[in-house]
């Protein structure tokens, strides 16, 4: 997977988790949903680790860094070149 593909997969998994966490907040007894949530957490953690090894830290003060300090590296998320195109091909 190249950077855009990894970021796309990570964004999809993280969105699943954001949405599922909101659901679990009001449905804490739904064990089936909770099991799916926990499974995606593990999958996302593995992908996040390999993304960070190749492209640098994703989290402020929770991700390690190679030297020199990588956190400051461009691009930042608000820059167009940071982001991937959905669907792959350029519209």
């Amino acid at each position: 997977m190249d950077r855009d593909e990894m970021l796309r997969a990570l964004t999809a998994m993280d969105f699943y988790l954001v949405d599922m966490a909101l659901y679990l907040n009001t449905h804490p007894d739904d064990t089936e949903a909770l099991a799916r949530y926990n499974a995606i957490i593990n999958e996302a953690n593995a992908l996040r680790e390999s993304y960070e090894q190749q492209y640098g830290p994703l989290y402020s003060f929770r991700s390690g860094s190679a030297a020199p300090w990588q956190w400051i590296n461009d691009p930042w998320p608000w820059q167009a070149q940071f982001n991937f195109t959905l669907g792959g091909d350029d519209k």
Partner: protein, 199 residues
């Protein structure tokens, strides 16, 4: 405590500048039904919320709204960064340019600076959750009007994502309201809460 995640909740990659759309979309940054008001509303109300489910709902939706604020700021930046001063002025952003250049500043579409008067934090959990459900509907309507004004798929796509989040948040707040009503007892459904006693 918050941890910044160095990516967007949903990608924004706008190829064509469009200062006209930026002028409208900025309302969801600093306008009456925008993401800043939403985030501050929920993150302030959580301090006086009751029940574990409703506290978590306010905390987490308030946090997600910060990610939406970042998406809106990103859209405004990408829509304006390559526009000339003449294009900005033609799009009605001459006054904005005078005060802010192409920087992102919290104003409504009509140029009114952000004010905390857009939100409430009332101390009554039922009152607050009704406000939150109304706020989600108002934001949904705003996104629908913005989608009507837009013609670029790079712009419409993230606006549709944000619109859908308003629908989900409305649903979650409705569930939280029902749980809080059950917790407080039926009396709360139809009447007012007992006023604080004078000491």
């Amino acid at each position: 405590m918050w941890i910044y995640e160095k990516k967007l909740e949903y990608p924004i990659k706008i190829k064509n500048p469009n200062p006209r759309m930026a002028k409208y979309i900025i309302s969801q940054y600093g306008g009456p039904d925008g993401e800043l008001a939403a985030s501050l509303r929920y993150l302030s109300q959580r301090f006086s919320m009751v029940t574990p489910q409703a506290k978590a709902t306010l905390n987490d939706i308030g946090t997600e709204e910060l990610a939406h604020l970042e998406m809106i700021g990103t859209m405004v930046k990408q829509l304006t960064e390559k526009a000339s001063v003449e294009e900005l002025e033609k799009a009605g952003l001459g006054a904005y340019y005078t005060d802010h250049d192409r920087a992102v500043y919290p104003v409504s579409a009509s140029g009114t600076p952000f004010t905390a008067a857009y939100l409430q934090s009332k101390g009554d959990p039922i009152t607050d959750l009704y406000e939150d459900m109304a706020a989600e509907q108002k934001a949904r309507s705003t996104y629908e009007y913005l989608i009507q004004l837009a013609d670029d798929p790079d712009v419409i796509d993230p606006l549709r994502f944000l619109r859908e989040r308003e629908v989900v948040h409305f649903q979650r707040f409705g569930e939280a309201l029902r749980l809080v009503q059950d917790y407080l007892g039926d009396r709360k459904r139809v009447s007012m809460r007992m006023p604080d006693r004078k000491r």
